[in-house]
């Protein structure tokens, strides 16, 4: 295990950022596993700098009105629709 192995507090913090609740036993298990996995990821330090000249281009289409899903189809999988809207929890 490397010196800066991940702590259970860090696992909890990341889980909070990722919006995934974890049970205590999940925190313990992930803390152990992450130590091994992150130590392995650290071998990326051995990778030399490589020129990256990827021929990237933006792909744009004309901004034209198109048909889209009707609201019935769009709402069909929502657990709690209201009128023509998705109903979610309070934001704060």
């Amino acid at each position: 295990m490397s010196e800066d192995a991940v702590s259970s507090e860090e696992v909890r913090h990341v889980a909070e950022l990722a919006r995934v609740d974890l049970a205590d036993d999940e925190v313990d298990r992930f803390t152990r596993q992450f130590a091994d996995i992150l130590e392995y990821f650290e071998t990326l330090d051995e990778v030399p700098a490589v020129d990256r000249e990827a021929p990237l281009a933006n792909v744009m289409r004309p901004d034209e009105e198109r048909e889209s899903l009707d609201s019935e189809a769009a709402l069909r999988n929502a657990p709690e629709p209201e009128d023509d809207y998705f109903k979610g929890p309070n934001v704060s």
Partner: protein, 422 residues
């Protein structure tokens, strides 16, 4: 069904006529089918019914194929054994008691068991080639950009491609021919393969073909797998192919680069599952973050949580340069290595998987060991190249696959070479 191949069995009829008329196809359950449940092997999407077809499904229907079901898979495509599916693991029809390989295990098993003539899977780091090898069937991972990903539930967008399974190279090529080609709904598709045919490339003629063998991809592989691989290479040499060793030093870092990139993309892609517009909501009280976090704890399995968390960590302030940026450097290095190796060879050959199929339940506890099993397949996704896995024989009664990798958009050469092993 005892092998647990399908999550949903459903007959979706295609057009009356077409190149795939009379053929049955199993479709991996992360490829959207209008009005037919598409779960991604997850409790999160257990009840999700897409309102539209993926482009590949539209093309299957137009070609006259009959879809016979949605195939079991590792949850959201994350796994090497098909044991992370919420709907249970699949038994390998070619090696009962063993895993079919992941993540498109149900698709490969459907073909191996004769439940479908053909199947579609998706390959982010080997998810078509691994189950093809473990189930003794043919699987093709197309060049990135050849096949539309519209309607594929995204896991690692920059890496994944939809591709075919079949019992023969020619049949896999026929299915590729149907699904390949640019799509205005997916801006990452390219027109390079639009006019290309594939099935007629399965000539079995390898006279004069130059095969490079990356020594790094044989190191550490199971002895029986290596022996079977060399027998198959000998077979190709007898038919007039020549072989030489090549070195790809970058592949030593491909697995860690792949997992950092795939997990980072997963952490972003899977943020859409909030239980509000679709997916499992759990009906929790509290504010958005609280309800959202509780629903995701319930809806996602262990491997998915592991990858979302590690991806979030790799992208977080302070670690971005250490992990994500370095992984992109490694990806560029891998591409460069493959370009050089393929300048002196028509194709590169290796065992598809360094090991024969695991026994069911053997491998679940140690994620890192599992990730290392992907050593021979992930470099190809990092380099955006096409690859095929073709049955090479058996070791101790377990199937072994041979992987061929070619230059971008040169699927025809892979198909030609692979067909010589049948």
């Amino acid at each position: 069904m005892s092998e647990n191949i399908f999550i949903t069995e459903e007959t979706i009829d295609g057009a009356a006529d077409g190149p795939l008329a009379g053929q049955t196809v199993a479709v991996k359950d992360n490829i959207s089918t209008a009005s037919v449940r598409t779960t991604c092997g997850s409790a999160m999407l257990e009840e999700y019914v897409p309102p539209y077809d993926a482009t590949v499904v539209t093309r299957l229907k137009e070609a006259g194929a009959t879809i016979v079901g949605k195939a079991n898979m590792d949850e959201f495509g994350m796994g090497t054994t098909n044991e992370t599916s919420y709907f249970g693991s699949v038994d390998n029809p070619a090696a009962p008691g063993h895993v079919p390989g992941g993540s498109s295990g149900g698709s490969a098993a459907a073909v191996a068991a004769g439940k479908a003539d053909l199947a579609l899977g998706s390959d982010t780091g080997g998810s078509i080639r691994c189950p093809a090898a473990f189930c003794g069937v043919v699987g093709i991972k197309p060049t990135y950009g050849l096949v539309s990903r519209y309607g594929l539930v995204a896991y690692g967008n920059s890496l994944e491609q939809i591709g075919p399974f079949a019992n023969s190279v020619e049949d896999a090529a026929s299915l590729l021919e149907v699904i390949a080609g640019s799509d205005e709904r997916d801006a990452t598709t390219r027109a390079d393969g639009d006019e290309t045919t594939y099935a007629d490339a399965a000539t079995g003629d390898v006279d004069g073909l130059s095969i490079g063998i990356p020594t790094e991809l044989l190191e550490g592989a199971d002895e029986g797998v290596v022996e079977t691989f060399w027998d198959a290479i000998g077979d190709l040499e007898d038919q007039g192919a020549s072989t030489h060793d090549v070195s790809l030093p970058s592949v030593e870092h491909a697995v860690e680069a792949y997992y950092v990139i795939a997990m980072s993309e997963a952490s972003s892609n899977l943020a859409r599952f909030d239980g509000v517009r679709y997916g499992h909501s759990g009906g929790y009280d509290g504010n958005w973050n609280e309800a959202f976090s509780a629903a995701r704890q319930e809806g996602f399995g262990d491997e998915v949580k592991r990858r979302i968390l590690l991806g979030t960590y790799a992208l977080s302030a302070g670690y971005h340069d250490k992990y994500y940026k370095k992984a992109q450097d490694a990806r560029a290095w891998v591409k460069q290595d493959f370009d050089e190796a393929l300048s002196d060879a028509d194709v590169l050959a290796s065992p598809t998987m360094p090991v024969p199929p695991f026994e069911l339940g053997e491998s679940l506890d140690d994620p890192l060991q599992m990730y290392l099993a992907d050593a021979n397949t992930v470099p190809v996704n990092l380099a955006d190249l096409p690859a095929i896995s073709v049955p090479a024989g058996e070791t101790d009664g377990l199937p072994v696959g041979l992987q061929l990798v070619g230059p971008a958009f040169d699927e025809r050469t892979l198909i030609r070479a692979a067909s010589a092993l049948e």
